[in-house]
Assembly symmetry: C2
Homo-oligomer: 300 residues x 2
Amino acid sequence: MSTQINQVEALLHTLQDGLCAELVRMDGKACFVEDVWSRPAGGGGCTRVLRDGGVFEQAGVSFSCVTGEQLPPSATVDRSELAGHGFVATGLSLVLHPENPYIPAAHANVRYFEVCRENAEPVWWFGGGFDLTPFYPFDEDVVHWHTVARDLCAPFGVTVYPRYKKRCDDYFYLKHRSEARGVGGLFYDDLNEGGFARCLAFTRSVGQGFLDAYVPIVERRRHISWGERERQFQLYRRGRYVEFNLVYDRGTLFGLQSGGRTESILMSLPPQVRFEYAYQIQPGSPEARLASYLKARDWV
Amino acid sequence: MSTQINQVEALLHTLQDGLCAELVRMDGKACFVEDVWSRPAGGGGCTRVLRDGGVFEQAGVSFSCVTGEQLPPSATVDRSELAGHGFVATGLSLVLHPENPYIPAAHANVRYFEVCRENAEPVWWFGGGFDLTPFYPFDEDVVHWHTVARDLCAPFGVTVYPRYKKRCDDYFYLKHRSEARGVGGLFYDDLNEGGFARCLAFTRSVGQGFLDAYVPIVERRRHISWGERERQFQLYRRGRYVEFNLVYDRGTLFGLQSGGRTESILMSLPPQVRFEYAYQIQPGSPEARLASYLKARDWV
């Protein structure tokens, strides 16, 4: 283990504690249950899940650090020559499924890979980001979300936000639906430019910035009353979340391919879901508004 | 279009009508709604879905015939040299999600591919099979299911059932859960041995045999009363069905990759589903019985 991985792990643990504390405060009812696990093939993790809360139907914040003999192809797009080498991967994933359909679902992830090669320096890179999945979107919320994203990127260069915003739009896209998963945010991968310290600092900013982006949205929407109609729409739209995570998400596929802990990987799936053949949305209805948000757009 | 494809299409239409008629009879309450669709890139289909029935929460029987310029890799395991060539693919898929948790979910599929190559005879093959996914299994049902499967294979050779039974066990397996999707049945692919007429006859036997296998099970279990406990277990187990279809199922991936009609492909997903982190089954409970059925076993 390098000192680099120790620094990343320390950051991820700090982030996990900070995120969980704030989520519990916001939720006001339930708390996290923690599972500490180890992986027979090497490594382990700590998965925290809060259920049936005052705000969150389910909230999961999972830390993992796994080692392996063979890097799976899903781990890297830009560095396919590294597939098959020994690796260490550590990451923190957060997935929030609020009960109130007026509060968007949210996801954040930060991760770090180190690949060991014989007679050569290890190759390392960071990845991460956060994205928002509303059911009944509010412009004000989406603009706020992207403003926080832009502002946290600013110290790292003016091109950072537009590049990572676009990568997020490209990544969280359901090709078979011609539809984005949500309204985007930030997504980066294969990041090692500018040295380790800078990349670590950027990753810290993303992890901490998530709460600045999400908490005000929850506070604004948590008291909107909702009924069966909104619930049914939310359950239906959660189906898209399942489709994305199981068909496209590289983190999910990496986890399943690398023999990760299935329960921790799939805690991203919403607790209740509905699939409906040939679902029809009434034109002009509140539900019909969502479609126009699921196309990439400049928000700030 | 070859005369072969015309013969297959005729069979599939006959099977679709026969299957739907019998399902409606069994259901006794709802009927099928039909969508006839065409695909911009070539071909089309006819999707029939029955919902909120007396027996079936959802039943889908979908015919499709699609043409394409480039065979996707998911279309064939044994003939990877054909990937990228022009093709015609036609198939019939049936997915049944009964409401009563004591009635197993069931799936059947038959399909035919023809790949066109310049200056060479077309290459063709059949695929298909059926498999059963119980929640509260009964030995009697599983033995019956496999007995019908064995008997319909018998005229085609004594090795057919054991080979296709094993392929079914191998195929419907969730590696990340170390668990079968259900209790298996038959699965074949890349079949062209013995000539077209024999392969077509076998495919007819599989399509027709499905009802012999499934109807008696429905009739035996449809009047068992059930409550919230069984429903919750069924919804949870349906999550595994979603995991399999979106992560592993080649037909689903082929459809999504080849620009198929998404609604028709994903009508296989159960209408309501529950995902639960770290779900615990009480040892010795009726729900705990299922696990031992989700390992490959000889049933006849």
